[in-house]
Amino acid sequence: MYKKSVRGELILGNKSYTQITEDVLRHQESEPKWYSAPKWWWISFIVFFILMAVGLGYYVPRTIVKGIGEWGNNNQTAWGWAIINFVWWIGIGHAGTAFSIFLLVLRQKWRTSINRAAEAMTIFAVMAAGLFPAIHVGRPWDEFFIFPYGPNTRGLWVNWNSPLLWDVLAITTYLTTSFLFWYIGMLPDFATIRERSTGIKKKIFSALSFGFVGHLKTWRRFEDAVIIIGGLAAPLVISVHSIVSTDFSVSVLPGWHETIFPPFFVVGAIFSGFAMVLTLMIIIRKVYKLHEYVTDDHLDAIARIIIFVSLIMGSAYVIELFIAWYSSNTYEKYVFIDNYMFGDYAVPYWLMFIFNALIPQLFWFKKIRRNLVWLFVISIIINIGMWLERYNIVIPPTAQDFLPANWSEYSPTVVDIWIYLGTIGLFGVGTLLFMRFLPIMAMNELKQQAKRQTELNVEVDVYDIFEKKLVK
């Protein structure tokens, strides 16, 4: 149960329902033309668009035409940057689910002003992630082999034992589920925009809103559908990232062959997801002046979760080191103690440790949790730290494995770097278009929240979902 006396109000300024609609849509409705937007929007859009155009418009086709030889991958490090970036983006893509769905299932009311943006982020991050395995196979035109459609055409069914196949299925399911959850959630808000607009905008939103009207029965079915999708997506997020981790842990490579990997990856994903949500929400709050909806209490709550998750990350790092030492396995000890702690990869390893396990501990101080600049800087540091974590997982164990005679250095090429920048461009362009054209906050849920807030002051019956009855 949400206690106002403990947590403070979720929407400040005693907003009426009309005010909530106006505040959330103000930045869209104040722009007379579809192409008019503030200067900062256009500048960032152009920058991200250029990154996307060069990275995805030029370097991806070039990779497809010329092959993976263009990348920095070599015999030892066959996975390279592509898989670092894949895991990094998938991790960020867990923000939507972590936020929206875990908090929905746990009935955490403070999700309401943040969930929509987090879900949008998920879609773009998962799209960016999906690109890497798709081009990493080298011959994307043969990708249909992954789908089972009868043995007579190829003489064999797909290998259901392969985590790579599970990965394809899990990520496709995750993208579909996230997209449907996001879209269904937006239907009532599309209807609001439809009602308030004219001309071509009205036509577009009429098409998008599917003729949604908030009938009693519609809301009932809507609630049920949302809770079903949410309830199924919550365990899905755990299975998706566990499956990504099995890509690594089923191999016999020291540094990868670990039972800790599935929970470690899931927690890491939630960690980077929350950090990215923090980054994005601080920007949205600042540029659209929505501090009455994304209050200091909201950011404080995210920061508290980050402390907790960061502690789990820290203990996972320490457990890895301990087990490597305790196992007395030469190769394990080499990877963790000689290579990570004191060897060639000590710098990225310790940076990762400091960025992910130590710096977020600053959030124990209330002053830092309530300071936007600190929050923003630490959220960026965590994102960098999480990228370094994936770097440490992918590169050092492969570059220096069993036979020192085979060891080889890995460094990314220009193509690698541009494809990564291209995905950052895709994410940026997607997020900016979302901010400009779609409802950035779930207005219908905010109104529900505002109603609850009034109920705390007025004596009325409230429906208790656990008791399934009305209570005073």
């Binding site: 069914w157 797909v158 034992n161 399911t173 949604f212 979902i465 009305l470």
Partner: protein
Amino acid sequence: MKKLIGVYTDDVKLMNGIDKMVEEKVPVEDVITPFVIEELFEKLHIHSNIQLLAFFYGVMALIGTFSGLYYTFVIDYPLNIGGKPNLSLVFVILLFVLMVLTVVVLTVLTFFHQERLYPMKKPPFEYPGMHTDKFVVVVPVDVKEKAESIFSETGAIDIKEIEVNE
């Protein structure tokens, strides 16, 4: 079909109105609100079968996926991978993932079908502000007098007869 509507701007007044209607046995056909009001489901006994259907889809998806996996991996082409059993725990992961995919897609389609929602559909009924801050209560015209008095007594801002496309 002709209907009588009463429009509220305050949800506390709306709830009072609904309570009164239930008390005086005025049949409330529909309440159109800009957001979910769970108390109304309870008061007007609104149920949906989506959760039950979703469970059914889940069971069907599990059976379907298991049969598919069993056929391809055990009956049709039992591949020998180091002597490992063909019917293995691997199935659990695939069963879960494909079950989620099936249930989510079918649940969404069921919602769209039950509500007859599709792209480009024109909303069957519109009242200015009904998606922003207006709560519209719909009652049949044959209880007009009783309903009108309850509407005006509980503070509805607009009471009128309208034509609704069924």
